[in-house]
Subunit: 220 residues, 2 copies
């Protein structure tokens, strides 16, 4: 006998994601979910984003990890409120976990919540968290064939950041093929080549995000 | 109401893994499961390993991916039998899938089966496939803090390959901290710095694997 429990689990998650979304909208807070492999540079990109937006918006970060508080401590050391979620083994965040993290944040005093999902190109795809936008970061060393192997996550992205772009000369990464594969899965998502450590390209990605935040404000 | 289905699923997997293990042992075949993030260099390391061992052992590869046949085609182009498993969304291989792949391989004419798991540092940890050894590949660009964030997979490794070692000058990777974190989780696993694309360090890793294959032969 096999029981498919994925439907009731996902249905419950959808309900909780809707609750998060309503709560964030009511407080006027924009939420972006950052998705990537381990080591693609999620935290570094988030820190570079914060440095460029902290004078414009009041920002907090929700850090998702299997274990450790490394990332929340990095963010907090920049004077930004950070809530660490340890999933204790689960390979993705769920709306329920994000809801509890929102409880710990002063939503009325915030404009932007950045959610760093668990490092994984597979599991997070099916779990809506109540975010306004989903951004996938792929780093050059991972290789240009990743959209072929992990299509679902590229298909749902609102934008793609191509990080560690400064290491292009070191790796056998075919940017044309990468762009074509992404375009086949997702005609709408812009691709931003970025070096989060050196700062190159960060401005373009950040302006896209700010544009999304402003657009959400005009709608509500 | 919440139902924990992980126990019966894992119990069923254990039974099927035991069957795979018995079947491999009866045929005198050693199986190694290769675990890593997307883009850490699993396929490239497997190809470099095959080049060094193909005169000594008869080798086949089982490729696990969410989607695509990219990796199986790469391996087959080197004249090595390759079976592609597409998990269709699942973030890890299971013993059942590997059992069906073994059906498709001429086990009596093989000495070594290399299993390339789905790119993921989380999900594969709980699923025994019936392998004789598990090897985790981390690549330098992913960062030295990964054992802190994904401890379970480093704890179960029989060996760790530190790939893209030639890019150490390009990244902020603290090898001492990495080695300490691994040692804290796993005192037994050797760490092999390797550049799978350039060939540096491949010999040491391959000799370790050959030693394990020979040891298994003496035991049985």
């Amino acid at each position: 006998m096999e029981i498919d429990l994925s439907r009731p689990i996902l249905a419950r998650n959808e309900g909780l994601a809707r609750k998060n979304r309503e709560r964030l909208a009511a407080a006027g807070v924009f939420a972006v979910d950052i998705l990537a492999s381990p080591g693609a540079g999620k935290t570094t990109t988030i820190l570079a984003t914060i440095e460029r937006l902290r004078d414009r918006y009041r920002i907090a970060v929700i850090e998702g990890d299997i274990a450790s508080r490394v990332d929340a401590e990095k963010v907090a050391s920049h004077g930004i409120p950070a809530v660490q979620i340890n999933t204790g083994g689960a390979c993705h965040l769920e709306a329920d976990m994000v809801g509890r993290a929102l409880d710990a944040l002063p939503l009325d005093g915030l404009d932007l919540v950045i959610i760093e999902n668990v490092g994984n190109l597979v599991c997070p795809t099916e779990f809506d968290l109540g975010q306004d936008a989903r951004v996938v970061i792929l780093s050059v060393p991972e290789g240009h064939d990743k959209p072929l192997k992990y299509p679902a996550i590229f298909a749902l992205a609102d934008a793609v950041v191509l990080n560690k772009y400064d290491t292009l000369p070191v790796f056998d990464f075919d940017e044309g093929e990468f762009r074509e594969s992404v375009a086949r899965l997702n005609g709408a998502a812009p691709i931003f080549p970025v070096s989060a450590t050196k700062g190159d390209g960060v401005a373009d990605w950040v302006e896209w995000l700010a544009g999304r935040i402003e657009a959400a404000r005009t709608t509500t």
